[in-house]
């Protein structure tokens, strides 16, 4: 081999070796910015994550008068170098609480930061004791959070406590078989705080005979407050090869219906044979995402807005078709105004049918 080739080989090998420490020192610093774990760094990280990813700034400005830049100036004044961790947490929670969004939370060892005014500022319109009275003792458990029975006047009563889990197809078939001779069905989703969108869609698909557009959705495509993707149709398709319910349905709602339960109410409202009764739902019309600030606290925020079939935001809830309030005299008599009104409504509908 010529001397030139030998030199080439040696130089190449040396280059490889030299690359090793280079690759080892390849670090993970963000090319644009990296927030530091100081009170100011954590404050700025949280404010910026929200600024770039939260999806309802324009809506919150219009309805609640929240100006996110003004919020930054106001709360930055409370942050100092020697602020305690707990005090910092309280300030940060207050800052994001301005948005009054149940999907906006800050999680730390101190607490789960939240603003639940969408629920707590309104009448409960719900009594667990009364609900249990209607369910009795021989109700059927159709899955985690799904309970049902047939009421004395031959009306099916289904309580959906949560959409954390979906009711399986086979269990839904069993339930609809069980209620096949009922005159109507009451679905009680009061105080259902949500869960999986797929669980609510799966249940809603049993109440339509055709594909129905029940809303629209999009997601954030960039850090600007108005950087959104195109709108995607949200459609409910009839459950194929499974039992479907075509008799009257009443869905009972209150302010405690949030997130997936809000989505369920939105979908059901768009379907024929379905009537929403009760109070406006609590909202939560933004699909949430999470991130983390430098001190390890986790922030959750709404990132993908959802709209109803008429392109209205559902962040502030779904209004019922028939507005109801729990009557004190009914409660004292051991009756649930909501359930009794729904029974009367279904009876009336059957008579008129």
């Amino acid at each position: 081999m010529s001397r030139r080739l030998k030199n080439l080989a040696v130089v190449t090998a040396a280059l490889f070796m030299a690359l090793l420490p280079v690759s080892c020192s390849w670090n993970g610093e963000a090319p644009d910015r990296e927030f530091v774990n100081t009170p100011q760094g954590n404050f700025m990280a949280l404010w910026t994550i929200m600024d770039e990813h939260y999806c309802f700034f324009d809506l919150k400005k219009e309805k609640l008068g929240v100006d996110w830049n003004e919020v930054k100036v106001r709360y930055a004044a409370s942050i100092s170098d020697n602020i305690s961790d707990k005090a910092l947490f309280e300030v940060l929670c207050k800052m994001i609480g301005e948005l009054r969004d149940g999907h906006v939370n800050l999680t730390s060892p101190y607490d789960y930061g939240r603003n639940w005014s969408w629920k707590t500022d309104y009448p409960a319109n719900y009594s667990k004791d009364l609900q249990n009275k209607y369910l009795g003792k021989d109700y059927v458990i159709g899955g985690n959070g799904y309970y049902y029975r047939i009421l004395d006047d031959n009306i099916g009563y289904l309580v959906v406590e949560s959409f954390e889990d979906a009711m399986s197809d086979s269990r839904m078939n069993v339930m609809f078989n069980y209620m096949a001779l009922c005159n109507g069905l009451i679905i009680d989703i009061r105080d259902n705080g949500g869960g999986q969108l797929t669980a609510s869609e799966s249940l809603a698909s049993r109440f339509t005979e055709e594909k129905v557009t029940v809303g629209y959705t999009c997601y954030k495509t960039g850090p600007g407050h108005n950087d959104f993707s195109k709108l995607y149709k949200t459609e409910i398709s009839p459950a194929e090869y499974d039992l479907r319910w075509i008799k009257p349905v009443v869905v009972l709602t209150n302010r405690g219906c949030f997130s997936s339960a809000n989505d369920f109410a939105c979908s059901m409202k768009a379907l024929a044979n379905v009537t929403l009764m009760g109070d406006t739902t609590g909202g939560g019309g933004g699909l949430p995402m999470s991130s983390e600030i430098p001190n390890g606290w986790v922030v959750r925020f709404s990132s993908a807005p959802m709209f109803d079939a008429d392109m209205n935001h559902v962040e502030f809830g779904i209004a019922p078709d028939i507005r109801l309030d729990m009557k004190d005299e009914d409660v004292q008599a051991g009756k649930d105004t909501y359930i009794e009104s729904a029974r009367a409504f279904i009876k009336d509908k059957i008579v008129n049918f």
Binding site: M1, L5, K6, L8, A9, T12, A13, F16, M17, L19, L20, P21, S23, C24, S25, W26, N27, G28, E29, A30, P31, D32, F35, N37, A45, I49, H53, C55, L197, T198, T217, Y219, K220, T221, G222, P223, D227, S229, Y232, K233, L287, P288, M289, S290, S291, E292, I293, P294, N295, G296, V298, R300, S303, A304
Partner: protein
Amino acid sequence: MTDSSRCSRRLSSVLVAVLLASLPLRVTAQRQAWTLPESMETVKVNSFAVGRSQARDTYLSGSTYSGFAFGWENDGWAGYEPHRFFRQGRLHSDLYFSYMENPLGGGLTLEFSGRTYEGFMWHAVKNSKCDFLAGPAVMLELGVLYNQQNSNNPVNMEGYFGGGVCADNTFRFSLFRYDMALQATFFTPLAGFSMAPDYDQPYYYMLAYNGGLGKALHFIHPFNNLAFTQQVALVLPIKDKRLRVGFTCDGLKNNLGGHSRFLLNTMATVGFAMRYQTKKWDR
């Protein structure tokens, strides 16, 4: 960067430098520790890998997670048929599992990844002392990152396929009459396609809506996706076996869909080389 990672990087650099400085490059062609496979021959090394991982994926979290990793690596050299333009093939596959914590130790990220590339090599330098191979390569990488801190979007997929360049160098030398070989391999992708969510695109949307998946596929090039796999290994003959002790470093730094991702694995590897005859597929 933490003090411990800085220290380990310095240590590995010093070790390599000391190793290189101590090598009297005396060729002993008669008793070679390592030779490239001839035509229709394959050399395979299955190695156990253990080391350190770092990851930051801003779709999941703004923090850089670091921790330990272990896995399996398979390296191969194949002598292709004589009539083929590229006479040698260089194969590498690995599977890594990483357990990483955030800087405060309060959050957990798990990563499971696998990658494979195959280089089609031109034998640029061939003599008793050195073999230098270089050529184009194709690669595929798939993996998943799970961030325990993140309740709503805890998982991000990693995956890309593309073409790049690969170079492989083998030095044969002896130290105190003991024949050894030092190998170095470098691969970097130059172009291809990668999967990454479109900014805050939820995975649910990708799968639920027509056209949602299309937004998640990105064309990659070195300006938005810089990646490499680098290996340095020492081959030590033990009787009729060949022990291969090495160091693998693979990194990825990209910015796709408005999110940045940084992944780095630095692994020590140990395995034995096996030489096989390649049989032609008889149709």
